[in-house]
């Protein structure tokens, strides 16, 4: 594999990581398989696009995307999911319904054309790295992915909130019994997970563009990553993203026929034989 293809795989993996990390936070702690996560990505992208084109600032676009999508996540969690707490299956199917609604809403508002989030001048063009000419923006995505990983690591391992989240992933009841308002922790986690999806949408929207089926595509990748990497594990998401990102790029080059198999095959096998994934730990409840 050439440096070029390696970079392609890594930069794609970085984007996947941003989105999947949000997914695993919600799945890990709240046990909710949020099938609307892809739609949150797409809406984040569209809203970020709208803000960035109007204000001319990529950063504002990012903030706008995160804020807006966190708000939508709030509506989903507090407005809808609260009625089906505790019932895994109902939650999943409800989020699926929500995904349909969001996707159609996006079609109504933005139409079916493809949009690309505008990037700041300094990230345009390319540079020579390791002997190849590579787009600067994609390198930016790669670095952002690493930075976000570091940030989440710090959050989970060096803050009280992070400790609560990690404890909650293991045993939510125990955390509640020790007097913590677990509901608030859940809510914050849900908002954070949603915001990450929205941020992913803005970042992805700049080099992969935004279009009506982008939500289903990114959801499918996120599912695979979280299953492979393991529920509720940050390292798992990181490793899972690398695997899926690299496999996808390699697969496109070497086995274009087996595009889906390359991703769903490992996912199916893991679900069948090791549902916890590579780094997941069984919950003690």
């Amino acid at each position: 594999m050439s440096i070029f293809q390696l970079l392609n795989g890594l930069t794609f993996a970085a984007l996947l990581f941003v989105v999947a990390s949000g997914f695993t936070l919600i799945f890990g702690l709240l046990r909710i398989v949020n099938l609307a996560h892809g739609a949150l990505y797409l809406l984040g992208g569209y809203i970020g696009f709208a803000v960035a084109t109007r204000t001319g600032s990529f950063v504002l676009g990012g903030l706008g995307a995160m804020a807006a999508v966190a708000a939508i996540g709030f509506v989903l969690d507090q407005g809808l999911l609260r009625f089906v707490r505790g019932n895994d299956l109902r939650q999943v199917l409800l989020t699926l319904g929500f995904a349909f609604v969001l996707n159609d809403l996006a079609l109504v508002i933005w139409g079916g054309d493809s949009f690309t989030v505008p990037i700041p001048q300094m990230l345009k063009g390319g540079m020579r790295v390791f002997g190849v000419f590579y787009p600067t923006y994609r390198l930016f995505v790669l670095i952002s992915g690493i930075v976000i990983f570091a940030g989440l690591w710090a959050l989970l391992n060096h803050t009280r909130l992070g400790a609560l989240i990690r404890a909650g992933v293991d045993d939510a009841e125990m955390v509640e019994a020790s007097g913590v308002n677990i509901r608030r922790v859940f809510l914050v986690t849900f908002l954070l997970g949603s915001a990450l999806a929205g941020l992913g949408g803005l970042m992805g929207g700049a080099f992969l563009s935004l279009y009506p089926s982008a939500d289903a595509e990114i959801l499918v990748f996120s599912l695979a990553i979280v299953i492979i990497g393991g529920r509720g594990s940050l390292v798992g998401v990181g490793v899972g993203s690398l695997l899926v990102g690299l496999l996808n790029t390699l697969g496109q080059v070497m086995f274009p026929e087996l595009a889906y198999f390359v991703i769903f095959g490992p996912m199916a096998l893991l679900l069948a034989f090791r549902p916890l994934g590579l780094f997941g730990r069984a919950a003690t409840t």
Partner: protein, 330 residues
């Protein structure tokens, strides 16, 4: 539609002579239906029958074994592919093609089952989803055999059944037989074991039941019936494409099952009728069908997770309990 009332009545009668009478009335009404409907509406009724069977097959696992599958669309669609391929490419007679389709679907279900029996709940859902996507990927990319994006067309329906009404009656006959078979299956000792597994897997295990084996057989049987529905659909359309095996097809099947009522079996017809009727009415007025579909999902999950039949049943049970003199034992 009269189907609805009739089907719901079917549920409340226990195994008595009265229920046989109810069933006969329902069947008579269903058979008489085409006489008062336009060709297009007869087509819709045929679709309701076919998708009712699909919903029921999903219910065998979801309602009776406690495992909801998002891969039954793939099983359903594979049957369709084999049926169309067998008659269009291999030139086999319709009956043979039909049998091959059902066989193929059962085989796919068996493969899914081998991987899925050890999982449950959300993991089962995701695994069947992933397996369904693999099947979809194959149908989409293996262009030489499946026609890829374009799908396959063929003159699958036998010449005798070309007319709308004739085909409807043939489907009605097939569906009646198949429904009876499913009903007997879930009421059999095997079916009761599945119910036991749904209620408490650990208890069944401690009682000595081989849970994975039961689930495996249940899945295979469920796939068999989904395959019948798929073969009938291929005959209905004379066409099959990757959308028949796509996730959306599985989701639609699950929605129909839930709308009718998980665990009610015949609720599948009610759910199918409700979804198809809704789709027809809604898309006459707006393009926003996906949004309506999504909202329906959300509302059902929040307010009526038992589905139409389930909610009716619960209401009637509550009414019976509230009345001072209980006239029926449920």
């Amino acid at each position: 539609m009269t189907e609805t009332a009739g089907a719901s009545q079917r549920k409340f009668a226990g195994p008595t002579g009265r229920s046989a009478l109810v069933v006969l009335i329902v069947l008579a009404l269903a058979a008489a239906l085409p006489l008062g409907l336009s060709n297009y509406q007869v087509g819709l009724a045929t679709e309701i029958l076919i998708f009712g069977v699909l919903a029921m097959s999903i219910d065998i696992l979801a309602g009776f074994a406690g495992r909801t599958s998002l891969g039954h669309g793939a099983i359903f669609g594979v049957s369709g592919y084999v049926v169309v391929y067998a008659s269009a490419q291999a030139g086999l007679p319709p009956a043979t093609a039909f049998l091959l389709g059902v066989l193929a679907a059962t085989l796919v279900a068996v493969i899914f089952a081998l991987l899925a029996v050890r999982t449950s709940g959300v993991y089962f859902l995701l695994l069947t989803l992933a397996l369904g996507m693999i099947v979809w990927g194959i149908c989409l990319r293996w262009t030489q055999v499946t026609g890829g994006e374009n799908g396959m067309r063929g003159d699958v329906r036998p010449a005798l059944l070309m007319a709308h009404r004739t085909f409807y009656w043939a489907v009605l006959a097939a569906v009646t037989a198949v429904s009876y078979a499913m009903w007997r299956f879930v009421r059999s000792p095997f079916g009761l074991t599945l119910l036991g597994i749904r209620d408490s897997e650990s208890r069944m295990r401690s009682l000595g039941y081989n849970v994975p084996l039961h689930l495996f057989v249940g899945f295979a049987v469920s796939g068999f019936f989904a395959g019948i529905a798929g073969a009938l659909y291929a005959m209905f359309n004379n066409f099959v494409s990757p959308s028949s095996v796509a996730l959306a097809q599985s989701v639609e099947g699950v929605l129909m099952m839930i709308a009718g009522g998980v665990g009610t079996l015949f609720g599948g017809f009610v759910g199918a009728a409700a979804v198809i009727a809704l789709e027809n009415v809604v898309s006459a007025y707006t393009e926003r069908w996906p949004m309506v579909l999504g909202l329906t999902f959300i509302l059902i999950m929040i307010f009526a997770p038992e589905g139409i039949i389930g909610t009716l049943r619960a209401l009637l049970t509550r009414q019976a309990r509230q009345s001072p003199i209980s006239t029926k034992g449920h």
